[in-house]
């Protein structure tokens, strides 16, 4: 197998259910050993894509190949993969051990081998000692690990995960995220992972495939998605708080790069790239805004502002910042930080020459003294 040939190759696959929630003409290549996250809002087709790979759905059109083998019409059991369900899909009447070795028993694996593999899986997932419990007697995190153990016990090179963390609390989610990533790397398996949580995607993935309405919006490594969102949708979906998207019509004309049609243009700016100043000194490079609230998170403060004619924006400021709601501020940014999107189809526009800003704005708000509390 050559290094270039993808481990999973989805070619022009479509699957439509009564006109909704399907996928359309989807093509994805997934390299061996990678951790791929299918990301998107609910109904975007990410789960369908996963189920198509699993064989729980059959494609209407197109082909799917795993490890060079056309599996388009193969039942799930012959595709050599395992799966972790959102609900974990543990068999409530079986013990932890029985759940884990369910598939091995179905495939009539030898007793000895089952024992060894079970012990492995138990120790890898830290479940040793829980073998005889029923799922109902486990905590959510433990159940999640049983599902994980069941997925890895067979030693399949591919593991599909459908929002496996969504039923865990925030703290646990964070640690399990790391565990899964570690496990994947240790076992050298390929993971296709579905989530709607962009933090999960960004923190775990080698490749993020962002989907919308059954189509791929953008695929790439997390940094690409963050730094160069291909569409305004990707820009808004990835990153928290999300990138502010402001119709160019609300901007002072000077900031519009040459060659772009300001009547159908969207301007995007990440919260950390926004600069707030309290002075009334509106320049040609800044926008007037009103503070509507602020959230203090310890290391940083999110300040949300209202901009007339837009949905508003959030600025990420370091440290603790007090700004009373209602305070008039002006917003500015470094020219290179600006993202530009087509106002109609949302795709990214790269201005040939970003217009030169007059000067790098002074970081005029740096400490909590800069703006007097009102």
């Amino acid at each position: 197998m050559s290094a270039q040939s993808p481990f999973i190759q989805i070619k022009a696959v479509s699957r439509v259910f009564n006109g909704c929630n399907g996928v359309h003409d989807l093509s994805i290549d997934i390299p061996r050993g990678s951790f791929v996250v299918l990301l998107g809002p609910s109904g975007c087709g990410k789960s369908t894509t996963l189920r198509l790979i699993a064989g729980l759905e059959t494609a209407d059109q197109g082909t799917i190949a795993i490890d060079g083998k056309d599996v388009t019409n193969m039942p799930p059991s012959r595709r050599g993969l395992s799966m972790v369900f959102q609900s974990y899909a543990l068999f409530p009447h079986l013990s932890v051990a029985e759940n884990i070795i369910f598939g091995l028993k179905v495939r009539k694996t030898g007793k000895e081998e089952i024992r060894t593999r079970l012990d492995d899986a138990l120790s890898v997932t830290g479940l040793a000692g829980y073998e005889d419990r029923k799922p109902a007697e486990l905590s959510g995190g433990q159940r999640q690990r049983v599902a994980l153990a069941r997925a890895i016990v067979a030693g399949h090179p591919l593991c599909l995960m459908d929002e496996p963390l969504s039923n865990l609390d925030a703290k646990l989610r964070h640690s399990v995220r790391r565990d899964i990533r570690e496990l994947q790397q240790r076992l050298g398996i390929t993971v296709v992972y579905v989530t709607h949580d962009q933090t999960e995607a960004m923190s775990m993935a080698d490749i993020v495939i962002l989907m919308k309405d059954g189509r791929i919006e953008q695929a790439g490594n997390p940094a690409d998605l963050y730094l160069k969102p291909a569409t305004s949708f990707a820009a808004g979906f990835v990153g928290s708080p999300p990138m502010a998207l402001i119709p160019a019509s609300a901007l002072p004309g000077d900031v519009i790069p040459a060659g772009l049609d300001m009547t159908k243009l969207t301007f995007g700016i990440r919260p950390e790239d926004l600069v707030l100043t309290t002075s009334a000194d509106q320049s040609a490079w800044s926008i007037a805004a009103t503070v509507t609230g602020s959230e203090f998170l310890g290391a940083e403060t999110f300040v949300s502002v209202a901009i007339p004619g837009t949905e508003g924006a959030t600025a990420r400021l370091p440290g603790q910042v007090h700004i009373a709601p209602g305070t008039k501020v002006s917003l500015s940014w470094a020219g290179a930080a600006a993202h530009w999107f087509d106002g109609e189809d949302g795709h990214r526009l790269e201005p040939a020459m970003p217009r030169q800003t007059a000067q790098e704005p002074n970081t005029s708000i740096e400490t909590d003294t800069a703006i007097p509390s009102l």
Partner: protein, 282 residues
């Protein structure tokens, strides 16, 4: 499988043999199961004395229906049956709700013992206690009344059991929320538990109606007058095995008896089944 399976479009590459087999099997069994009724319908439309010939060329007739209709005051019997079934159901719903609620949500001494007693009642066959029950109904002065027919069936162990299970599966948080809002116990029952168990009620109602619509012997024994007797008594007039039965007439009478129920079931079939499905009776 989920709904995805229901609606797959034309371009499936492989025929689904399982599904074809399922369909054939399901249909074959359905036809076998319904065929006695289909045959009865056919027999009812045949002149007496030829029905068993299965001669499909013979002309159909409604004479049996006319004969049966004129022989018995069906309208009155129908009304009696509706009253009876409604009364029994109403009684069952009230009594079983209260008792089921108590068993599901109250702690009291002797509860488990009583519950076992209730389950035991499932096994006490009213059919053999007819003489005793007759005496009781008679002593209560309820002889020849709809209440007299219905009373022995109202404390239904089956109903209590079903509702207890249903109430037990209602999250306690709902009840607590209602009580914080100031609901009394009855208010909690009425506003939280009863709505939550609605599918169970529907399912139970279907079973109860079907059972009591078709009950014969007990109503016959504890009634005297055409003012109280149900449809099945009318039916029994045509099925007198002492001299033999006319298949066409008995079929017509049978269809006449079950038709209202059958039509209701066919119309509300989806709702009924859905009710059962949502009831999640286990």
């Amino acid at each position: 499988m989920n709904t995805a399976f229901a609606s797959h479009p034309a371009k499936r590459t492989l025929p689904d043999f399982d599904k074809i087999l399922d369909t054939i099997g399901a249909w074959a069994l359905a036809i076998v199961w319904i065929s006695p009724l289909l045959f009865a319908t056919w027999a009812a439309l045949q002149p007496s004395g030829t029905a068993l010939g299965l001669d499909f060329s013979s002309p159909l007739t409604i004479e049996n229906f006319v004969y049966v209709w004129n022989a018995v005051p069906w309208a009155g019997y129908f009304a009696n049956t509706v009253v009876l079934v409604t009364l029994i159901l109403a009684g069952q719903l009230v009594l079983c709700t209260l008792a089921g609620f108590a068993f599901a949500r109250f702690e009291f001494r002797g509860r488990d013992t009583i519950f076992i007693l209730v389950l035991l009642q499932l096994f006490i066959l009213p059919e053999v206690l007819i003489v005793e029950n007759y005496a009781i109904v008679s002593k209560l002065g309820l002889f020849d009344t709809a209440l007299g027919i219905g009373l022995p069936y109202m404390a239904s162990a089956f109903g209590i059991f079903l509702l207890r299970q249903a109430f037990k599966s209602v999250p306690v948080e709902l009840e607590e929320a209602a009580r914080i809002e100031g609901c009394s116990w009855m208010g909690v029952l009425w506003k939280v538990y009863v709505p939550a168990a609605k599918p169970v009620y529907l399912a139970y109602a279907l079973v109860s109606i079907a059972t009591h619509w078709n009950n014969f012997l007990w109503p016959l024994i504890v009634t005297n007058s055409p003012d109280t007797r149900p449809l099945t008594v009318g039916l029994s007039l045509f099925g007198a095995p002492e001299t033999g039965v006319d298949i066409s007439v008995i079929s017509a009478a049978t269809i006449m008896t079950v038709a209202p129920l059958l039509i209701a079931f066919l119309i509300f079939q989806r709702q009924f089944i859905q009710a059962f499905l949502r009831a999640g009776i286990r």
